[in-house]
Each structure stands twice: as structure tokens, then as C-alpha cells.
């Protein structure tokens, strides 16, 4: 059975004498390398390398960075601890402990909300699953560094006040 548009048998062309003579092809390869070298030497602006961390790449507005928890207009967290995000999370990195909210119109809220940033695969399914728009990954933060593994587990306070600083 053949796939549409593809030949049943792939035939490779035999190398001709010049190609199999080794040195001509080496020279051709070096010429390509040399061309790039010289072009970049005299035209550094066009070079694709970014001088990180002095220079940073621009990402689109939909880039998924470090998570944050959003707030209602009155400043209280939107999260109602429905566990949709932790259920859908393929990395199982979200841990929520629900509690009874003193306000009966809210009823349920997250007493604890922890994300293990080392486990997170930044797939964005959590913000997709959230029925309350409580979790977002729109901070644009991708520089995440810490000295201990424990420090990568960020809690609710941290996520509610997630600023643009990369340190944990």
C-alpha cells in the first residue's frame, strides 16, 4: 500500500566521481561555513544570537509564563477550589486544599494553593480548565530560579502577588 503522492520505492542517486572524491565536497561545506562566518562578522545586527541576559527576546502576548492567581474586584482571590486545574494537570503539580469561606455567597475557597514549578510543564491546561478565570499564565515570566527544590513550590500568597521578578 502506498501513501498518496509518495512513491512506493525510494531510489537514491549514486554519487558521481567528483562527489565521491571527498575533497571537493569538504571544500564546498567549508565555503558555506565561511560564508556565514564572514557575513556575521561584518553584519552583527542580523545575527540570530541574543546577548542574554542583557538582551531578551520578545514573546507574544499569549506566551505561557509563570502562573498567577487573579483577584475579584474586591481583592479576594477568585479561586473557588473546584480542583479542575489540579485534575487536568498532566504533571500533577497543583495542590489545593479547600475550605469553607466565611461569606456564604462564596462558600468554597482555596485555603492552600501550591504549584510545584519544577513539575509544571507549562502546557496551559490549568488556565484552560478554570471556570472562574482564577489562574492565568500571562505573567510572561520564564526565568525561574531558586537554590532549593522546596523553593520551587510556590504558595497562594506568592501566586496572588506574582510580580515581574524572577527570583523565588
Amino acid at each position: 500500500m502506498s501513501y498518496k503522492g509518495l512513491p512506493d520505492v525510494v531510489t537514491t542517486r549514486r554519487r558521481n566521481l567528483l562527489e565521491s572524491a571527498y575533497f571537493t565536497e569538504i571544500a564546498r561545506g567549508l565555503a558555506v561555513t565561511g560564508r556565514h562566518l564572514i557575513r556575521n562578522l561584518f553584519n552583527t545586527d542580523k545575527m540570530p544570537t541574543v546577548q542574554y541576559p542583557d538582551q531578551k527576546r520578545d514573546y507574544g502576548p499569549r506566551f505561557r509564563g509563570r502562573h498567577r492567581l487573579t483577584q475579584r474586584e474586591d481583592g479576594s482571590p477568585r479561586c473557588v477550589a473546584c480542583m479542575m486545574c489540579s485534575t487536568v494537570c498532566p504533571a500533577d503539580c497543583i495542590e489545593i486544599i479547600a475550605g469553607e469561606h466565611p461569606d456564604p455567597t462564596i462558600e468554597k475557597y482555596s485555603k492552600e494553593f501550591n504549584i510545584d514549578l519544577l513539575r509544571c510543564v507549562y502546557c496551559g491546561l490549568c488556565e484552560e480548565a478554570c471556570p472562574c478565570d482564577a489562574i492565568r499564565m500571562d505573567t510572561g515570566i520564564y526565568e525561574i530560579a531558586a537554590e532549593t527544590r522546596e523553593a520551587f513550590v510556590v504558595n497562594k500568597d506568592f501566586l496572588l502577588n506574582n510580580d515581574k521578578d524572577g527570583t523565588l
Binding site: 473557588v80 477550589a81 473546584c82 480542583m83 479542575m84 485534575t87 479547600a98 475550605g99 469553607e100 456564604p104 455567597t105 462558600e107 468554597k108 471556570p131 472562574c132
Partner: protein
């Protein structure tokens, strides 16, 4: 017998069968959509979801309130039926708050299921137009009510009237203001109140104990048997990550029907109680100190030696397999007399005429079968004061009786148990055992029905499968029962009970098995 055609399939059912049940049979076990129908309650016919088309009848008819007739031709999935069900569902959802994210019923909710099957329409009702009612109203020690979520199926009110006969719940007001409530000054406070949570098809009645503890789809279920009393209700242990979150009844018409008592449901808390034993403890310099399992095992084997043990005391809270092994061990260690299956004064409390038994031990009947007599505390104290050496105690809390504690004060107490009881405090060696939800074990209820509970969670710390500890002890005194695993152990038990088939206990039917030979055995205890 009545012959009828349902969805083009001809079936034959006994006369008097409800069309609802006949439809389930014809549809391969799939129920018609429904909220109010419950096989153990009277027919209310209020939810209007189980409507079917019967040829020759001008209107659609609800299947729950129809008795089959010979020659009926029924359609359950015709366009007319589907359309009607969708419209009824839309009516049910008009005032529903759709607060699934904070609703504990989400995941096992009738409205959610029905909506996925018959709904999926664009709602014409604005959320702001809905009739508002009371939310999160505590109506009893175990149950919390959300009137907005209610679909007025009246299952809970029928339960309180027909099963418990207490009638706490009622439907008040009319039209879209109708709501479930308790009468002023009344609480839904009977020992079966959590059954209303089970039968509530939506999130109107939810459990206060389980409230916000876990989303139901994360739970795993294991079949087991309640250990709260001698009734042995069949339960489903819902657990996750080694922790039990709730017990739900499992239908067994021979034992508990679909119900279960609230006391029984709360027994899971004992499994995770603070004072669970999880290490071997040895008394050193007057204090009980934890030691490793390897050391503890040596300590235990050193204490349990023929000639060294003066008395063996079991408890009807241990499983059938354990009791068989304990009895065997005791016979080898101390001979026929100085042993007891338990303290007959223990484990009695008030029962009721529905499910809760006054006998609060799950396995007293097994003691009677094994001729492993319980003795009253007074008699035991007398026997103990004549004994010397090691007092070997398996479970229970016999030394909570002052007379027994006094009598045992000269003896070295070795306690194998689950909690830090008075007996543990008085003991010199304490070995942790597993509780009912932590082991695969057999229980004999008061009817003489052998039922199997499966292991839901692992025992804490160093505690392990109890029968292995007992086999280890038997081996160490040179009486290897030669059981390498549970099947062999159950063959041993079957042989001890002289059952007709040695593998019967390995192939126990779902609902348990009551050996006819042992049906007339006397009950244990007093």
C-alpha cells in the same frame, strides 16, 4: 409472564414488573433518565424524566409508574421521547444555580449526567432571572442543604417518611418557590440521615463530613464490609492517596439493602485516628519506646514461647482468618483452657430496629462458630489472677476493665492491637496491627454470613498484614500452618469450619455466603 417489545427488542418479564425495570433489562442495564424513582421507595412520579412512548397511548407515559402489560410496544429513544426529556430537563435547570465548581456532588450528579445525555442546548434563562433560595443551610449534624440545587424529586422526604419513619424533611411552598426544608425547630438528626445524601440525585443534600474534602472523581473505590457493628453492611470505601474520605453503602439485599447508618459511616475515622499504633513499642525504663520492626519481631518471638505464655485473649474485632490462627496459636501455647475469644462485656451499645446492631463487634458470630468462647470480665479476672507469665492480647481493650488490669498487673502483657488503648499503655510489648480497611479479610455478620472486605489503604508505619504476624508466630514455635498466601489461608479457614468446598472462601460470591451447616450455631457472647 408478560411479553413486550422495548426499542424493537422482545423481552419477557414477570407480571407486575415496573416498566422502568423492564426498560433497564431491555436496554442492557442502562437506566432510563430519572431523578425521583428509587426501587426501595414509593413511586412519586414527579421528575417526569423517565417518559416513554407506548404505542396506542396518545401521550407519553412515565415508566416508573407503569406496570408492564402483555403485548406492550414501547419506545425509549424515539425523537418524541428525546425531545420531551430535553424539555423536562430544561425545566429542571431553570432555577438551578449551576454552581458545579463549588458543589460536592459534581462528578456523580444526576443533572450533570442527564445534561450530557439529553441536554446540550442553549439556555434561554439568564442567570440573574433565577429564583434565589437558601444555600449552605445546616439542617442536622451530618447533612447540609442547598435549596437552589434541589430538583424536588422528593426522594429524601420519602426516605424520612418510609424508611426511618421520622419525617423531618418536607416540601414547603408552591411553584418555583417550592423548597425542601426541615420544619422550624426540627433537625435532620436520625442515625440514617446520610442516606438522604446518597439518594439525592443532585447536590441539594451533601455530607458535612465530606464537605470540600475531595472531588469525587479523584476517589478510588474498594468494596469492603463495615466493622461498626455485627450487621456487616456492605460498603464502598472511597479513598485516595492512602487516606479514606468516606464510606458509602453497597447494595446487598440480604444484609443492608441500599442503606447504611451514620455511625457506621464515621467508623473510617478510627483508621486515621491520632492514636493509631504504627511502631513496635517496648517498655524500657518504665516508658513505652518505639523500636524497629526487626528488633520488635525478636522481642515478640522471644515473649511468645510455649511455657512462657500464661493466657491468650482475642477480640471479636479481629477477622475470621485471624481468629482461626489465634485459636490455633493459643492451643499450641497454653492448651485448651487458658484462653478467651474476648471480654463478653465489651462491644455492646444501643441498637435500633433498622440496621444498627446492639452488638458492636463485627465478628462475634465467628467466635461462636470456632467454639472460641468469650468470657465476662469478672470470670476472666478470676482466671487471670491464677495465671502467670505472658498475657497475650490480640486487639480490643480488655485491660480497660479495672478488675482485669489488676489481675494482669503481675503478668507481662504483650499487646497486638491498632490503637493506643489502656491495654497498650499497660503492656510491655506493643505490636501494631492493621485495621479492617487495611487488609483483605473475612467477616461473619450476625446472620452467619461470611463477607469479604478488601484492602483499601495500606496500614500505617510498621503495621502489616495481621495473618502474616500470626503465621510468623506459629512458625517460631514450630507449628507451621504452611500457608504462603491468602488462598492457602482461606483453605485453612474453610477446613476449620468444615465447609463443603475447600476453595469456597476464595470464590466468595459478591453478596457473601452463609454456610447452611452453621446456620443454627449459637451467637457468641452472653
Amino acid at each position: 409472564m408478560a411479553k413486550l417489545t422495548i426499542d424493537g427488542k422482545e423481552i419477557e418479564v414477570p407480571d407486575g414488573t415496573r416498566l422502568f425495570d423492564a426498560c433497564r433489562e431491555a436496554r442492557g442495564g442502562r437506566d432510563l433518565p430519572h431523578f425521583c424513582y428509587h426501587p426501595d421507595l414509593s413511586i412519586a412520579g414527579v421528575c417526569r424524566l423517565c417518559q416513554v412512548e407506548i404505542e396506542g397511548m396518545p401521550k407519553l407515559t412515565i415508566a416508573c409508574n407503569t406496570i408492564v402489560r402483555d403485548g406492550m410496544v414501547v419506545h425509549t429513544t424515539s425523537k418524541r421521547v428525546n425531545q420531551a426529556v430535553t424539555q423536562v430537563l430544561e425545566m429542571h435547570l431553570i432555577n438551578h444555580p449551576v454552581d458545579c465548581p463549588i458543589c460536592d456532588q459534581a462528578g456523580e450528579c444526576g443533572l450533570q449526567d442527564q445534561y450530557m445525555d439529553y441536554g446540550l442546548y442553549e439556555s434561554e434563562v439568564e442567570k440573574t432571572d433565577k429564583v434565589l433560595k437558601k444555600k449552605a443551610k445546616v439542617i442536622g449534624p451530618h447533612v447540609i442543604l442547598d435549596q437552589e440545587r434541589c430538583v424536588l424529586c422528593a426522594r429524601c422526604t420519602r426516605f424520612c417518611e418510609e424508611v426511618t419513619g421520622t419525617g423531618e424533611l418536607g416540601i414547603y411552598n408552591r411553584g418555583d418557590r417550592a423548597e425542601i426544608d426541615v420544619a422550624p425547630g426540627v433537625e435532620l438528626d436520625n442515625n440514617y440521615s446520610l442516606n438522604t445524601v446518597d439518594i439525592c440525585p443532585v447536590g441539594a443534600l451533601t455530607s458535612r463530613d465530606f464537605r470540600f474534602q475531595k472531588r469525587v472523581w479523584l476517589l478510588k473505590s474498594t468494596s469492603s464490609v463495615c466493622n461498626g457493628c455485627a450487621t456487616g453492611c456492605n460498603v464502598r470505601v472511597d479513598h485516595e492517596g492512602g487516606r479514606i474520605y468516606r464510606l458509602k453503602p453497597r447494595r446487598n439485599d440480604e444484609v443492608n439493602g441500599p442503606w447504611m447508618c451514620d455511625k457506621g459511616r464515621m467508623t473510617y475515622k478510627d483508621v486515621h485516628r491520632e492514636d493509631r499504633l504504627d511502631r513496635v513499642l517496648v517498655r524500657r525504663e518504665g516508658e513505652l519506646q518505639p523500636i524497629s520492626w526487626a528488633e520488635g519481631r525478636q522481642e515478640l518471638l522471644g515473649a511468645v514461647k510455649p511455657g512462657g505464655v500464661g493466657y491468650v485473649l482475642a477480640d471479636p474485632g479481629r477477622s475470621l482468618e485471624e481468629l482461626v490462627l489465634i485459636q490455633r496459636l493459643a492451643t499450641e501455647l497454653v492448651g485448651e483452657e487458658p484462653m478467651a475469644g474476648g471480654v463478653s462485656d465489651d462491644g455492646h451499645d444501643e441498637g435500633d430496629d433498622l440496621l444498627l446492631s446492639a452488638d458492636r463487634r463485627p465478628n462475634r458470630k465467628a467466635l461462636a462458630w470456632l467454639d472460641f468462647a468469650e468470657k465476662p470480665a469478672e470470670a476472666l479476672a478470676g482466671e487471670l489472677s491464677g495465671a502467670s507469665g505472658v498475657l497475650l492480647v490480640f486487639g480490643g481493650d480488655p485491660l480497660a476493665h479495672q478488675a482485669l488490669a489488676d489481675a494482669a498487673s503481675r503478668m507481662r502483657v504483650v499487646y497486638l492491637g491498632t490503637h493506643r488503648t489502656a491495654t497498650a499503655e499497660a503492656a510491655d510489648v506493643v505490636v501494631p496491627l492493621s485495621m479492617w480497611a487495611e487488609k483483605d479479610a473475612l467477616w461473619v455478620n450476625k446472620q452467619g454470613r461470611i463477607q469479604r472486605g478488601q484492602r483499601a489503604v495500606l496500614p500505617p508505619g510498621d503495621a502489616r498484614e495481621d495473618w502474616r504476624v500470626l503465621v510468623d508466630l506459629l512458625q517460631s514455635i514450630g507449628h507451621d500452618p504452611e500457608v504462603a498466601g491468602l488462598p492457602a489461608l482461606r483453605r485453612l479457614v474453610a477446613a476449620r469450619l468444615e465447609l463443603e468446598d475447600e476453595n469456597l472462601l476464595n470464590r466468595l460470591p459478591e453478596g457473601g455466603y452463609a454456610p447452611p451447616r452453621l446456620a443454627d450455631a449459637p451467637t457468641g457472647g452472653r
